[in-house]
């Protein structure tokens, strides 16, 4: 005699989402000098599945004090990623009367995969993408190697105030009474 199942659940929808992680970004800086490259934050994401089972998509939004023009955008990627390092990131800086003003809005998103994905070759080695810690970084790299700052104080804490060495540090005030956290989200997605 077979099993009888009453009121079975509706057909479930298979989801590509395997796991998700988050990292709350706190103040970096004031950066009182320029840097040709700088890693703002590192999130050691605990990957749940093997390199050939899942890939990672990540996104982050944050602000920084004191506007700077021309500087390369901080970009999000895996530490060991070997291609597509500068995809999907941009920032907008305040500007008024031919001067950089106030602060910047940063937005970043990217992904890393060790298997061919949508016809594109892998951009991270499987040895760096298995179960366990996969470092995800937000960092800028200046192509020409010169010094730059796409912001002076990132995710400022309360009453952050001004540092030194910037062109508009007087625009960095200390009135804020909350910490201007940034949020980084990681989605681990099945192939």
């Amino acid at each position: 005699m077979g099993r009888a199942i009453k009121n079975p659940p509706p057909v479930a929808v298979a989801s590509k989402l395997v796991a998700t992680g988050e990292y709350i970004m706190q103040q970096v800086g004031p950066l009182n000098s320029d840097y040709s490259n700088y890693t703002l934050w590192t999130y050691n994401y605990p990957k749940q599945k093997a390199a050939n089972e899942t890939y990672l998509y990540f996104a982050a939004q944050f602000n920084s004090l004191e506007a700077y023009s021309y500087a390369p955008s901080p970009c999000i990627r895996c530490l060991n990623q070997t291609a597509d390092l500068y995809n999907g990131s941009q920032y907008h800086f305040g500007y008024q009367n031919s001067a950089e003003m106030e602060f910047n809005l940063h937005t970043c998103q990217n992904y890393a995969h060790s298997e061919t994905l949508d016809g594109r070759s892998a951009n991270i080695s499987s040895s760096n993408f298995g179960v366990g810690t996969v470092p995800i970084i937000i960092r800028w790299d200046t192509l020409s190697g010169g010094g730059n700052r796409p912001g002076h104080t990132f995710c400022p804490t309360a009453r952050a105030g001004a540092g030194t060495g910037g062109s508009q540090t007087s625009a960095m005030d200390s009135r804020g009474e909350s910490i201007w956290y940034g949020y980084l989200r990681v989605w681990e997605i099945a192939y």
Binding site: N7, K16, Y57, S69, Q90, H92, F93, D118, L143
Partner: protein
């Protein structure tokens, strides 16, 4: 004698991600001022993707970033983001979008920048197509603007060292999510 299961839970997974399609464009491209249908695909032109389920089962969500350079125009120039050219909205040349109702193509893409040569313009794309009727099969995504005069939201997309020797090659990055209803 076999087990009998009564009152089995009726919950199922909702809102699951069924599929994700990626769009990447890492080629620096000059953006020409244009009006009408030309501008509607100026930023993303006829990107095709496959929807796996019918409209009753899933909808599409599009998110992404386009890196731009220079912002030469006044802000309200009819930015639009749509699938299958649906709902391009107000147009002085309706023949350019036959059988498409007005409205829902608009919005879902936002940008801001400085009117300064070689300065960044940031585009953010975030749009739900839950109200659209999109069945399984091949579809196209187009992003641009719909204006009644020749305008452009930026001078270049995907800028690189040609614009400033400090810049890496930037790339547009867009994800098309198919999500269970």
């Amino acid at each position: 004698m076999a087990r009998q299961l009564f009152n089995f839970p009726t919950e199922s997974i909702t809102g699951g991600i069924i599929n994700i399609t990626k769009y990447k464009d890492s080629t620096r491209k000059a953006i020409a001022a244009s009006s009408g249908a030309t501008g509607r695909s100026a930023l993303v032109n006829n990107f095709t993707f496959t929807k796996l389920r019918n409209n009753a089962d899933s909808y599409i969500l599009v998110t992404g970033i386009i890196g731009g350079m220079g912002m030469p125009n006044y802000p309200h120039i009819g930015m639009c983001c749509t699938i299958d050219q649906i709902g391009y909205g107000q147009t002085g040349q309706p023949a350019e979008a036959p059988n498409h109702p007005q409205g829902p193509a608009g919005g879902g893409i936002y940008y801001c920048g400085n009117y300064v040569v070689n300065e960044g313009t940031t585009f953010i794309i975030h749009k739900s197509f839950k109200e659209f009727i999109l069945n399984s099969g091949s579809h196209r995504l187009d992003i641009g603007w719909n204006a009644n005069s020749d305008v452009r939201p930026c001078e270049y997309i995907n800028p690189n060292s040609t614009d400033n020797n400090r810049h890496q090659q930037c790339a547009t990055h867009i994800l098309v999510y198919e999500i269970a209803r």
